[in-house]
């Protein structure tokens, strides 16, 4: 398949998306709801590009390449849409723990405060109802990644989905019950894919609350999960000689970034140092 992006023509395999083609050409395309282990839902609209002869912009993350497509990724029209989408997100949700979104806001010179101080937001109390992870939906941009990770893309648990509609659309457990009463199995795979920190390990949340989360000082140690025989790769995030978070590499053949409750949260025995 031949596609011309920003004046350069290239060949990509059939079935590639415009995003795949752009990445192959080294074009940095912003994405928020896209995840390389998830089915694209193309809802955030920050990856939109201009496709010649199309009525509207198209989402690069999900639009399949057709032979002869001519695409512009940095036209005024594209930049305007990306900027306004970022302004809308930044005006409605707290992006303070969303480094990618903040970087895009800088890149597109977006001004989320342009809508005024009385703009409706999704601000609400943090949900702390278990010891493993917290849900701060003031930071939720409704990217659907957690829903996909909990559903058919990863865990097949279906503990959460999108409830409500319009600006009131939000992530909810069944009947909005607290997490411990829901179908959640605490794999934390939703936490792993959340791009804004709306879902966060309780350990990280508590350290941030205390002002003791120092990411720049943390080291990452790759190891293998000590529990079952699957042999998932773990990345231990270590601060002050203690494990403060566990993740798994997205590109690992076995896990694709996923873990279970034991691998992601069952590490405290490692540092159960006992009374001095």
């Amino acid at each position: 398949m031949k596609i011309t992006i920003d004046g350069v023509t290239t060949d990509v395999p059939a079935g590639s998306t415009i995003l795949d083609a752009a990445q192959q050409m080294g074009i940095d395309t912003p994405t928020l709801c896209y995840g390389d282990t998830l089915t694209p839902v193309n809802v955030c609209r920050v990856c939109v590009v201009e496709l010649e002869n199309a009525r509207t912009l198209v989402p690069a993350c999900s639009r399949k390449v057709e032979d002869g497509m001519v695409v512009h990724t940095d036209s005024e029209r594209v930049r305007t849409s990306r900027r306004l989408v970022l302004e809308l997100l930044g005006s409605a949700a707290d992006l303070s723990t969303a480094p990618e979104a903040l970087a895009y806001i800088d890149r597109y010179e977006a001004r989320p405060d342009r809508f005024g101080p009385d703009s409706l937001t999704v601000e609400q109390a943090v949900k702390v109802d278990n010891e493993l992870y917290v849900r701060d939906y003031s930071k939720c941009i409704l990217c659907y990644k957690c829903v996909e990770a909990c559903g058919v893309d990863h865990q097949n648990t279906f503990a959460i989905t999108v409830a409500g509609r319009g600006f009131g659309a939000h992530i909810s457990t069944e009947l909005d019950v607290p997490l411990p009463e829901s179908a959640c199995v605490y794999c934390g795979n939703c936490v792993a894919v959340c791009p804004t920190g709306a879902l966060m390990a309780k350990s990280e949340f508590d350290l941030r609350e205390a002002g003791d989360w120092r990411e720049e000082e943390q080291t990452e140690v790759d190891t293998v999960c000590p529990y079952c025989g699957v042999g998932c790769n773990l990345t231990l995030h270590v601060q002050d000689d203690a494990i403060v978070k566990v993740s798994s590499p997205d590109d690992h053949d076995v896990t694709r970034g996923n873990l279970c409750i034991k691998g992601r949260y069952g590490y405290r025995y490692v540092q159960n140092r006992g009374p001095k």
């Binding site: 193309n42 305007t80 849409s81 306004l84 997100l89 409706l120 600006f167």
Partner: protein, 93 residues
């Protein structure tokens, strides 16, 4: 096309149209979910003389981006009547 009598309250009509689209948005994509809210907020500020400055720029951006980047026809047309009232009839302009 919508036809109004000469004595119709077009500000009220525009506000109701904006409210309708905000209410009808399914909430899936960002331009429509948040854009229809910001559109209605800006129109209310203009209608109540509480404008903060660049409402017309905000509305023009929303018109273009909801049309260009929303997933479906509802978001893509959510600013049509508002934009038409402002630019063709001078409502709130």
């Amino acid at each position: 096309m919508i036809v109004y009598g000469a004595e119709a309250d077009l500000v009220d009509a525009v506000l109701r149209i904006a409210e309708f689209f905000r209410d009808e948005s399914c909430g899936q994509c960002v331009p429509c979910r948040i854009g229809t809210v910001r559109q209605e907020e800006a129109l209310h500020r203009l209608a109540s003389d509480t404008a903060i400055g660049d409402e017309l720029d905000v509305l023009a951006d929303l018109t273009q981006v909801m049309r260009d980047a929303s997933i479906c026809g509802l978001g893509q047309t959510a600013a049509n009547a508002v934009d038409s009232a402002i630019h063709n009839l001078g409502v709130l302009a």
